[in-house]
């Protein structure tokens, strides 16, 4: 079944109030074109789940600055002073998780489970007593699975069955989010016919993907950020 959609149609499916996972760690893997269309369409009261908040005026920071986001679930927003300021002003609710815990909460949802037992942060202030479980003689923190209505994913390559391949450090959260969200929307600049890829090279099987948007070009968003180039 062909999963190709136009950019406009794919994003129009997302209602205000939705919970949306967004792939990417910094720039690599951030689906800028899907995000920019969501800015254009203007859905509001969104909950976003992303490793970081991108950098000011860039990626999901545009959605946050535009007032479309009520809540951000993330690990580290140190590269985005604008969002830190909005958080400090109480204009957005930000929930932090250790990075590997966020990844694993998403993967746990993606594997159809409901939570997992860990010792990460068990003795730190991030653990509340209500999340501590005594179980068969040991003490654990229970981390619950994190689901979402939608996931927005950037793939380096895809076919119209929804098989996805990522590149470089742009893999990061994307395969996990593709498993965890109820509706998975993918952008790619390189859409191929099924059969083009070696079956062993596919990172995300098409079963997890609902819509594939073929991009005509990668905008400047995807380029090199000068301030991350070493002098």
């Amino acid at each position: 079944m062909k999963k190709n959609r136009t950019l406009e149609d794919a994003i129009a499916a997302i209602p205000s109030g939705a919970t949306v996972m967004v792939g990417g760690f910094g720039n690599p893997g951030t689906p800028f074109s899907l995000i920019n269309e969501l800015v254009r369409q203007g859905q509001t009261q969104l909950t976003l789940i992303k490793n970081d908040a991108n950098e000011p005026h860039h990626g999901i920071s545009r959605l946050i600055e535009n007032g479309q986001v009520d809540r951000l679930v993330t690990t580290h927003i140190g590269l985005n002073k604008t969002v830190i300021e909005l958080m400090n002003q109480g204009k957005i609710d930000v929930q932090f998780h250790p990075q590997g815990m966020l990844a694993e909460k998403i993967r746990t949802a993606g594997s159809g489970s409901y939570g997992f037992l860990t010792d990460i942060g068990l003795e730190s202030e991030i653990t509340q007593q209500k999340d501590v479980l005594e179980w068969q003689g040991q003490t654990y923190k229970v981390e619950m699975a994190l689901t979402a209505d939608y996931a927005l994913i950037h793939a380096a390559q895809a076919d119209w069955l929804g098989n996805l391949l990522y590149q470089g450090s742009a893999i990061n959260f994307s395969p996990l989010m593709a498993m965890a969200a109820d509706h998975v929307i993918v952008e790619t600049i390189d859409l191929k016919q099924p059969g083009h890829f070696k079956p062993e090279h596919i990172h995300t099987p098409g079963a997890f993907v609902d819509s594939v948007v073929e991009l005509k070009a990668l905008t400047d968003d995807y380029g090199i950020l000068d301030h991350h180039v070493r002098r």
Partner: protein, 212 residues
């Protein structure tokens, strides 16, 4: 040599041949550039890289390949790329030989605080908690005192902890100090400083090896 250069020059000696090493955000990421080009170590970056290497020239830079601090990196031969769940599986399964990490505070028990200054700085935890809690060997890189000259090596951390009793060694701009069951043991001095002067800049009680 600047304070930073002194820390980094010493830090690079911690990396042994053939080891798997994570370099945390801040001072540690810069250690990479002090490694000889042919050095046999695999740099792990928690955003999904094993085998990250020094930044390429601008014309070869890959916009889809950064380290966890956002800086563009290259890959060594034999590098692998994977998702964030696998990346942290490597960390939590203690397959890292060494992590170097920054600190706001570190103390005599090896407790580390490096993620939050309540009311002042709370950009999130990132991967620090898992790196600190699970790496086989954790080396803290830090200036010996803060910008106001106050000690960062304390008797007991006052800020929220990243992890308890996780630090094996502290490398400051003044000394190399090991966390031992008996307390902090000065192993090397990196500048010409007396024991008393070093103790003055350190809140925690220091021990000195017999020969000094």
């Amino acid at each position: 040599m600047s304070v930073v250069e002194r820390i980094l020059t010493r830090a690079v000696l911690e990396i042994t041949q053939g080891s798997i090493v994570n370099l945390g955000i801040g001072l540690p990421t810069q250690v990479l550039h002090y490694l000889p080009d042919d050095f046999d170590a695999q740099i792990h970056s928690e955003n999904g890289i094993l085998g990250a290497w020094k930044q390429s020239a601008p014309e070869n830079m890959d916009p889809f390949l950064i380290d966890s601090a956002g800086a563009y990196v290259s890959l060594r031969e034999g590098a692998s790329l994977f998702d964030s769940a696998v990346s942290f599986a490597i960390i939590r399964r203690a397959r890292l030989d060494l992590t170097m990490i920054g600190a706001f505070e570190v103390d005599a028990q090896g407790n580390l605080a490096n993620w939050k200054i309540p009311g002042k700085f709370s950009p999130g935890i990132g991967g620090a908690m898992e790196l600190a809690q699970k790496t086989k060997r954790l080396v803290v890189l830090t200036t010996h005192t803060d910008k106001q000259g106050r000690p960062k090596i304390l008797e007991h951390c006052r800020l929220p902890l990243t992890a308890k009793a996780c630090t094996d060694r502290i490398i400051s701009d003044l000394a190399v100090i090991d966390v031992t069951p008996e307390g902090l043991m000065v192993r090397e001095k990196l500048v010409d400083i007396s024991n008393d002067e070093l103790q003055d800049k350190t809140e925690a009680k220091l021990m000195f090896t017999a020969e000094e």
